[in-house]
């Protein structure tokens, strides 16, 4: 096989790879289903934390609130609420919503999981 033939084959293979990449990344990319909540978009994530904060206003149950926040990933509940509070301030959330997040943050900062309670 001559070198010109080899070049033609290499070019064909490269074109094939490029077509495969375009098809796999753009035309028909992997569709995700059944994803965990830790990859929610920032606004959905903030709304979820806000819902937990609104529910906390009525329930005053730190344990339940922390459990609900835990589904958002490995960060501590206080950290999750703190970053959401920051997001809420930057995105002009209503004052009562910011207050609810602030209350939840205070609760999460002082929250001690039952397993870690001092004897």
């Amino acid at each position: 096989m001559t070198s010109s033939n080899l070049i033609k084959l290499a070019i064909a293979a490269l074109i094939g790879i490029a077509l495969g990449l375009v098809y796999g990344w753009v035309v028909d990319p992997i569709e995700y289903k059944d994803v965990p909540p830790n990859i929610l978009r920032a606004d959905y994530r903030a709304d979820y934390v806000l819902m937990v904060a609104e529910a906390y206003q009525k329930e005053i149950d730190s344990e339940t609130a922390a459990r609900r926040l835990a589904v958002l990933g490995g960060e501590s509940p206080a950290l999750v609420v703190a970053s959401t509070l920051e997001y809420a301030k930057q995105n002009a959330f209503a004052q009562n919503e910011i207050q609810a997040l602030q209350d939840l943050l205070t609760a999460m900062q002082t929250y001690q999981p039952q397993g870690n309670a001092n004897p």
């Binding site: 033609k8 077509l19 495969g20 992997i30 909540p37 529910a55």
Partner: protein, 298 residues
Amino acid sequence: MSRLNLRSQILHILLALLVGLGLGLVYSWFLSPVTYVDANPAILRSDFKDQYRIVIAASYAATQNLDRARVRLELLGDIDPVGELSAQAQRMLASGEPFDKVRPLAQLATDLNNGFASIPTPTSFTLLNTPQGDSVISVTETQTAETASIEETPTPFPTIIFEQTPITPVVAETNTPRPTFTPVPGPGAPFTLVGQDTVCVPGTQEGLLQFIFMDGRRKQVAGIEIIVTWSQGEDRFFTGFKPELGNGYADFIMDADTVYSVRVVAGGAFVPDIVTPTCTDPNGISYPGGLLLTFQQP
């Protein structure tokens, strides 16, 4: 010979193209697929969707903001959000979750069906300042609450008495009667059995014991706990988990040869000796029918 050579060259090129295509697909689908970082709630795993619904319902229980709860539920991409709420509530009850945990889901499903918040709370008034359209809901709630509890007596027309000179009318009654407050039974008022009807509809579930609970204004009431007992056991369930059949609806399947008694937990109404009625079709053939018990608050 040269034609054979050309054909072989084209085949080689095609083969290289296909191998390249395969490599590209393997890389883009398996080795380095598109990564999701900004997912929306519609593609959450089903158990996380359940958790999301619980939090939506808990938030709604605190704020009574029905519009916002509806929008949040739509994010989950369910074809029938109310049906999903009811189904989840039933699943939770079946798995032994306490009713207090399930109640917000049932309440939200009921209110979405009704189109208004059934339990206006003071919290909803604080939401008047929020710019997301909450005020519309709150005003509606206020109006509903007032019309529900105040029954206005129409103001009578003043009677004009003419004496000797009919030039100056004398208004005999100047005081406008104040609105009369009609006492409304609270949610804990006892239910009494107001109807016990045999249901003979061929083709329907045999031995279906149906319940309908209404308040004093004949509005169906969700969340009423019912206990059905028989010689070998008992079953507990609540109204409102089939909102498509009514918020105050619940049902139970009876065996043909068993005697049941029904107790309503709130108010303690008791109906003994319930058996599956026998119906007869137009051809004279007997079949087990159903029973409809209607309860109402005074």
